[in-house]
Amino acid sequence: MAPRFFPERWRNGGWPAGKAFAFIGGVFGSIFLALLIWLAADQRVVLERSQRLLDKTVPSTLEQFRLARNVEQLRLEGERVLSGPTPVARQQALFIVSLLASHPALLADARAAALAHEVEAFLARAARADSKVDDSAEWATLSNRLSLLADDVSIDGVNLATDDLRQMAATMASSRVRLAIVLAVVAAFVGAILFLIHRYLIRPLQAMDEALSALRSGQASKPFATALMREIGAVEGAIGELREAMHEKEQAARQLLLLATIDDLTGMFNRRHFMALADEEIKRAQRYDRPICVAMADLDFFKQINDNYGHAVGDLVLQSVAQVIEKTLRQSDWVCRYGGEEFAFLFPETGVEEAHRLADRLCQRVARNPLELANDVCLPITLSLGLADVGSASLAAALRRADTALYEAKRQGRNRVAIAPLATAAADPASSSVEPQPPAAGPDPPARSRP
């Protein structure tokens, strides 16, 4: 079920996968771009700060170092003023002191300017030849102050760079957190995409594969839930239609098979199917030298029934007899409607005696099951049956002999079984000829006409 905030069209018709993934990609792309800009902001700050460090701070630091060096130089020149080897050297040192004390760069620093002024004044006074005061203690103090100031100025210079570096470090730390967030977002997106692909692409595809495998093996799989992705849904629909089509085709094939093998009215095998099956069965029995019998049966006085009660009742009689036959025969016995009111039988693995008993029982059962018509008329039905041992004969020859026996049964008074005499090679001249023509087809030959 699609979340509610998607358009109605999508919720009902499934998502177009291309658009859905483009949408997701677009959303993530925007988020990722925003995050990159966010990251880039930190990098820009670091770059700006490092550039500033290089362009401004380091030169300023070096200027501070130069100032510190000059403050220290002031102290050294002061020492020379007080203890220079010659008056000229002392004068030269005092000159440098005055130059340093007036140096614009030194004057720019208030602490240095004040102390340099004090030092210059002291040294000028001390350099005067008439000075008799012992000023070594005062100089020691000034000299110490100059040293300390030089240290302070140097440290100030270093601190300029330290501040920049500290800010850069803070920015880098924040940048690391941001990078972790960006990576987490990317990981979440990749996970979500994998989940979506698995849920909405791979699983439907697997279901389709299963369905197609089932179709291949002939099973009609049950229809699956419609996928959320429109394209996947379309393929699923196509597979569903294929499944329906194959199912219908299978039904039709089954129907055709039935039509080709079954007699419409009685539900028995039709003659052609029976002949094919029986031929195979006889060949098998002959190959293994097993007993096998065939029989031909014919309803007695069926023409009168048709004439007196109409073809509809005739059909009912045929159906009723067919039911009795089905119930009476063993599972291994085969029977077909041979044509009109004639039936043909095959009794595999059955000798003449056993077949005879079976045929007798069949005749009795048919006779005991008259057809009850609507107006309390009970229509008696009987069956005449000719039985023949197949032996080494062909199906056609065996059936012909059974037919002859059937004729004999009719002649003997109907509702009975007659057994054909055992076939001999001489008595079976037509063993390779075609099967006897069914009595229903065309006018009966005089020898086979039945009352």
Partner: protein
């Protein structure tokens, strides 16, 4: 001695030559023409081998190395520096010039490479501006311009090195000169015996930023020189030259 410092490698020189030929802003043969002074120790002078030497000469060579160009140094008197650079005869001048409005109207100035002030050297008792005092300064210098502007009796010389002789001969009572050259003057044995008094002059016209002058038609060269100054101040070559020529740091 002609100081080459980092240029004394032949291969490096040939690379410099190749690079110099690629620089369109420079003279036709790729050589940067630089004006320097002579007879102005410790800034610029001719050494025993007859080669230009001094702090400014060293700075010029360090800048050219940093810019990766070949430089041709030519000696000119101070008075000719501004007109020659303004006329494009030189690409820049390696001469310490106080950044004054008059000069700025004629040439481009690089960023200040140090700050200076001026020194009044005089017989004891002769204060700056004393009535009847005769003062000497180098022609074309800010000091000469200042003295003349004050209405003092002013004598001009071509080079700083001519000043001690004037003082010793008693032709002038005082000289007015920049801080850097005053250090050498003060060490002159002939001067020391005179017992001269010094006064530091911090007037606006006599102190402040000191820069090199650049051909006004080549602002891009000025940019490159500024960057080269940043570089030599960062990599220590500026301070090494400073230590070589001065007892304290120029700033």
């Amino acid at each position: 001695m002609y100081r080459l410092r980092s240029l004394n490698n032949r291969a490096f020189l040939s690379v410099l030559l190749a690079l110099a030929t690629c620089a369109p802003a420079l003279a036709n043969d790729g050589v940067v023409r630089v004006a320097v002074l002579s007879n102005s120790p410790p800034m610029s002078y001719t050494d025993a081998a007859g080669q230009p030497a001094g702090f400014n000469v060293g700075i010029a060579q360090a800048l050219c190395a940093a810019m990766e160009v070949r430089c041709q140094l030519t000696v000119v008197p101070l008075q000719r520096v501004i007109p020659a650079v303004a006329a494009g005869e030189f690409d820049f001048s390696a001469v310490s010039l106080l950044d004054t409005p008059e000069r700025r109207a004629k040439v481009l100035f690089t960023k200040a490479y140090y700050r200076s002030n001026s020194v009044w050297f005089a017989k004891p008792g002769v204060e700056p501006g004393a009535a009847g005092a005769r003062v000497a300064a180098v022609a074309g210098s800010a000091q000469f311009r200042y003295a003349a502007a004050q209405g003092w009796s002013t004598t001009s010389v071509r080079h700083h090195s001519e000043l001690p002789a004037l003082l010793m001969a008693g032709k002038v009572d005082a000289v007015l000169l920049p801080m850097a050259t005053s250090l050498t003057l003060r060490q002159d044995p002939g001067i020391q015996s005179l017992g001269l008094a010094t006064t530091i002059m911090r007037q606006a016209e006599l102190s402040g930023d000191v820069s090199f002058a650049v051909d006004p038609a080549k602002p891009e060269l000025r940019e490159r020189i500024d960057q080269a100054f940043d570089r030599i101040k960062r990599d220590g070559s500026f301070d090494r030259l400073n230590s070589e020529y001065f007892p304290f740091r120029l700033q």
